[in-house]
Each structure stands twice: as structure tokens, then as C-alpha cells.
Symmetry: C2
Amino acid sequence: MIGETEPISTYANVMRGVVKLSKMLEDGRQQVVGLQFAPDFLGRPFAEESAVTAEAASAVDTCNFPKLALETLITQNPGLERRLLQQTLKELDEARDWMLTLGRKTASEKVASFLYLIATHLDPTRNPADIVSAEFTLPVTRADIADFLGLTIETVSRQLTKLRSEKVIEVITNRQVSIPDLKKLHHRCG
Amino acid sequence: MIGETEPISTYANVMRGVVKLSKMLEDGRQQVVGLQFAPDFLGRPFAEESAVTAEAASAVDTCNFPKLALETLITQNPGLERRLLQQTLKELDEARDWMLTLGRKTASEKVASFLYLIATHLDPTRNPADIVSAEFTLPVTRADIADFLGLTIETVSRQLTKLRSEKVIEVITNRQVSIPDLKKLHHRCG
DNA sequence: CGCTAGCTTGATCGAAGTCAATCACCGTGG
DNA sequence: CCACGGTGATTGACTTCGATCAAGCTAGCG
């Protein structure tokens, strides 16, 4: 785990790995509010400061460039601004999907949804729609999963065990997970 | 309650009232994923279709215009695209704030957060920062509040009575609420 | 080796959900 | 004018899901 917290004074593109965005309450309760996969954009254009904390969740390569450079580049290049708007709209959609998960799904549906998200987003070269099975190493710890799902690590662990015993997933090692039938997993997402 | 569901083929600006955006699971569980207040923009630029349902939460005036009109307008006017990006980023921030609420706050903190949100957003002419007290009619039913907070109506009701008995809020009628001290309410938001 | 961090498992507890009864408010029509 | 349904909200009794507290377990590493 790299796990460095740092305020983003620059912009970046995630080239490899996963970056997690999170928010915290004063008393320490934490919520992961976004996961950025390659080749997502990282940063907050034209903003005072971002209210979220960005943190590497796994080993990450990023392609950084200074704040000002991008902002002038945007102003000159309307196509870029369009791209930026598109990515922001995509993130908004994902955030809203996740709100449905956080607000209305059960613990086991949440965990299934998380695994489904990872399975469909981890490999940027593949089209999510035609993935039928997957094997991957989880880019985050159980604690991160819990913070993403609004659960505790114990509950995450129990639900993973449950999904495993019901043959929906296979747990090769703590981090290595195999999904023999993605459709079956999807069914568990609510 | 107007409460019409309609797919948005046009764009609109909310001029008065509140529009709620929601998502649903197959089995009917529902989550409100956004509330649009005046003068928010409504619609999804350059998109196939929106995955959310827009519905009037109260009596609403909107200023509508066709999809194509806006899209050509945007292409011609870079300032407009910038405004659109700004609003989208604002919505993303709000969505992420709400994810923290959904995932990590208790029922009573959720209800307090909702009231705080309404108190600070309902009057578009006022600067949220310098509101010290407020009285307003709730633009939504208890069921909507519950769907927004990921709770049941019973729990919302109980928490409202609790906040009332603790003198944080006053309930004039079912819909009419007064917040004598907004700071005190904010304290209950976690 | 033994230590630590991350994970799992078990026992118990409590917050929120569920089920159900009642209430308050209001239009509507006898 | 009052009886009536109907909708939305409140309140109570009970249940349940996930949190909490507390051991162990496992793998990597000095």
C-alpha cells in the first residue's frame, strides 16, 4: 500500500493503479466517495480547493502537470473542456449509482456491488459489457472496502465468506479474487 | 404535490420550487440522488439517456428549451460550457457530501443534515453562510425525505420528534419547520 | 523464529427496520 | 353540517441486520 495523502496542487492522469477519494467527519468516520481507475483524470479544475482527499490505493503511476498549464490549455482548446465535462458527468453518474448502493442495499448486496465494480473497471482495455468472468487482485484493503461501502471490516469479511461459500466468488488469497460467473455476481447486486 | 415523472427530452432551468432526482432498484427500493433548487440546471448534456428520474417535489416553475438548441448554443458559446462544467462539479461535490451522509452518519445526523441542507438551499437569494435562523415549508413528503436519507418514514418521523423535543427545531405543522438556531442544528450533523 | 498488520470468526448488543394501530387533516358527498 | 374515506404522519411493540467487542488466525518480514 502506498497510501500517501497529499493535497493535489497539480493535475494528474491515472496511468496505472487505483486512486481513492475520500471524505471524513471530524470524529474520524470516513467515507470513500470515489475510485479513479486508469485512465481517469484527477484534480479539480477552477476550484479553490477540493473537499476530498486523494490517496493512492495501490501502486499507482500518474502523469502529472501543473494546475496553471491545464487551465490555460483548456481555455485554448474547447475539445478538452468537452472531454472534461464528459468525465465529470461520468463521475456524477457513478457517484449517484453509489448513493443508491449506500442508501438502499444490504451489506451483502453492497459487497457484491463492489466486486462487480472492480471486475468491470480494473482493466481499462476491456469493455465492461462483454466480461463474463474475471480474476484480479483487489486494489484496496478490507478497511478501504468497508469505508467505501459504509460498513465495518468485520461485515465485509463476513459477506465475502458468505459469497465464497455460496460459490459466487473464489478467494485465492486475501487479495486475489476470481469471479467465475459475472452474471451471477451481478444478480447479487440488488 | 405535482409528482409527475417524465423523461427529460428537453433541458430546463428550475425557476422556482424543488425537483428531485432519483434512482430505483428492480424490487422498488428507491434512493433520491439529488435535489435541484432554483436556479439549478436540469438535464444531461450530450447523453444517450439519463439513468435518473426527475420528478417535481413541490410546485415547480421551469424554463424549458429543446435539447438541440442548447447543444448548439454550447458549441458556439464557450462561456456557457464553462458554466455547465461548474454546475456539474458542484453537483458532484454535493453528491459526494451526501455519500458521506448516507454511508457514515446515524439516522438523527441524517435528518439534521437534511434539514440543514433545505434551510441553506431553499432561498436562492441568500448566502448560506450568513443564515442564522430559518423557517420554511418542507418541499417534500416524509417518504421523500426517507428515500433521500436511506431510511424509513418511521425513522424519519421519530428523529424529527426527537429533534423537536430537544428544542433543535420547531414543527409548526407537518410541513412547516422553524430552525431557531442553525448553528445548533449544524452541530447535530456529525 | 517472533512480531506486526491485515483478516477472519464468534458472541453480544443496539440502532433502525418491520408490522400494526392510531391520529390528524381534508376534501367529498349524503 | 357531519359522516365517510383517504392520505400522510406519528407512535408503539417487536425483530433483525450490522456494529461492537474480543479472540484467534495467517502471511510477510526483520
